[in-house]
Symmetry: C2
Subunit: 320 residues, 2 copies
């Protein structure tokens, strides 16, 4: 059945080889206090410590490293102003490739500065994702850039899946893996890789209650696009999962747990106050699920992906 | 000459044996961005990740582990409401020993809760350090508790010195070690241990410009007590170094670097924004010195002790 998917465990393993020496090999962190709160052992995978501050470098570099020399010479483009944009810019610089990031005209100076600091050529267009997408496609048609989407791409999925290989290597006895779901590239990669390596491991996505498109899609057995999303977790706001990610999740995911914004904030605050590590709201969602769904059938120990830590200081002050 | 000191490298080594399995063996962290900013390689020793959130557990546990069974049965007491109080409470619980912490009547609920969470019996007295000290001594006289001071004690110094052993083990080529100075127990332990193990290594204390008692004491070759201290780094506010710590610093320290509050805040913000790790203002002081004194003769690489990460969330929001 999985033979029909355009991405396999071999692609994930190949991505891991390409990422060696480029992405950090993040550890698994423990806290006795956290174990007591969760009622089970919790292994935190801190991708907030990852290069560029999020897991996105895994998919972005894995994708770019597969481009032909001709494609690299022309350059790559994306219209994600968040973590994927920064990751793409960093990956492009490592591969001596030009990167264009199309951002909204009202993008925060911090995000613009971050992308430029990684060497991106930042362009501004409109204020909606649609306007940026159209501009990116126009530039692709005009200049022959390669468009690298943030999540719905087999190369991206294969890159994100390397997280599961590391978790299983460091904790072979892990019972379940939880990761947040935005467009679904992260959870698709993890589910695919984890189930291939250890079929007994359970894999759960975590969505905000105000942005639960994958949950609804799995329930209705079709890709559901929700009209408006409402959550503080800005990385988890896509209105629908990617088609490929939905297909992988349909086959390999054990379920989606949902958490509200208050639970996300509590988890974020616990990590900062007690463990002294900063994650962005999206990065705290999977931990929030473990703390809120204590009665969920997750087993012990569980691995929790802290997906990123890019939050502007002014915003952090407000969140606290 | 150092034969007359009441603490030796053998005491530090003995403390390291006692701390094994109790304190975390913190790693050394790197950042390419930080190296570029500092103009040299910087190795961060993140004691904010240490048990109880600061290095203080090293000295507190080392001291308590040397008490006789009779002393432990009677209990221990301190009048530090900050990191030492929390560390003493945690160490006492590990050793099944009662701990009393005398706090000011206006202590923040967060500090009271933290000490109680570690099992301390919290008593309140006055609002000054003098009032608390008098109350602690009264309780010692009445109940036979052992007073464990926060810094001016050979057992405490020996415990804090274990940080230097770990740094030299992980980075034998380290050129200089920098650590913040409050009462001087940390820098005394580090200087003593580092110079004993590797005489060529340079050791520098770091003080806020508004609380530079050790700097002045070394300049005047006598223990100087400053009338009022003024700094956001609340852990570095003692008005004078301990007598023992001053003597050790006089023999073994290469100097004191001073930093203002703005530099401390910039370093704290860099750690949070770029490296996703939270330190308290005191914990950022040594890094601030490396970033501000780029022309100082420190060599390469330098090790920087991030001494703690206990900052209340409301205060953090204000600092940002």
């Amino acid at each position: 059945m999985s033979a029909t998917l355009p991405v396999s465990i071999a692609d994930v393993e190949e991505s891991a080889r390409r990422l060696a020496g480029v992405a950090h090999r993040t550890p698994l962190l423990r806290s006795h206090t956290l174990d007591a709160l969760a009622g089970r052992r919790v292994l935190l995978k801190p991708e907030n410590f990852q290069k560029t501050g999020s897991f996105k470098i895994r998919g972005a570099f894995a994708a770019l490293s597969r481009l032909t020399p001709e494609e690299r010479a022309r350059g790559v483009i994306t219209y994600s102003s968040g973590n994927h944009g920064q990751a793409l810019a960093y990956a492009a610089r490592r591969l001596e490739c030009r990167a264009i990031v199309v951002m909204p005209e009202n993008a925060s100076p911090a995000k613009v500065d971050a992308a430029r600091a990684y060497g991106a050529d930042v362009r501004f267009k409109g204020t909606t994702s649609e306007a940026r997408g159209a501009e990116a496609r126009r530039l692709v048609a005009e200049h022959g850039y390669t468009l690298v989407p943030p999540f719905d791409d087999p190369r991206i999925v294969a890159g994100q899946g390397t997280i599961a290989l590391e978790i299983l290597e460091d904790a072979p006895d892990v019972s379940a893996i939880l990761a947040p779901v935005g467009g679904g590239g992260l959870i698709a990669g993890i589910a695919l890789a984890a189930k291939s390596r250890k079929p007994s491991v359970r894999v759960f996505g975590v969505e905000p209650t105000g942005a639960d498109a994958l949950h609804r899609s799995l329930a209705e057995h079709r890709l559901v696009k929700i009209a408006t999303t409402d959550t503080i977790a800005d990385g988890l706001r896509p209105q629908a999962p990617g088609q490929l990610n939905f297909e992988i999740a349909s086959r390999h995911l054990d379920g989606v747990l949902r958490v509200d914004d208050d639970a996300i904030l509590r988890a974020m605050r616990f990590l900062l106050e007690r463990m002294k590590i900063l994650v962005e709201p999206s990065g705290a969602a999977a931990l929030a699920a473990v703390l809120e769904h204590r009665d969920a059938d997750l087993g012990d120990p569980v691995a929790v992906v802290l997906s990123g830590g890019n939050v502007e200081m002014e915003r952090l002050a407000k969140l606290l």
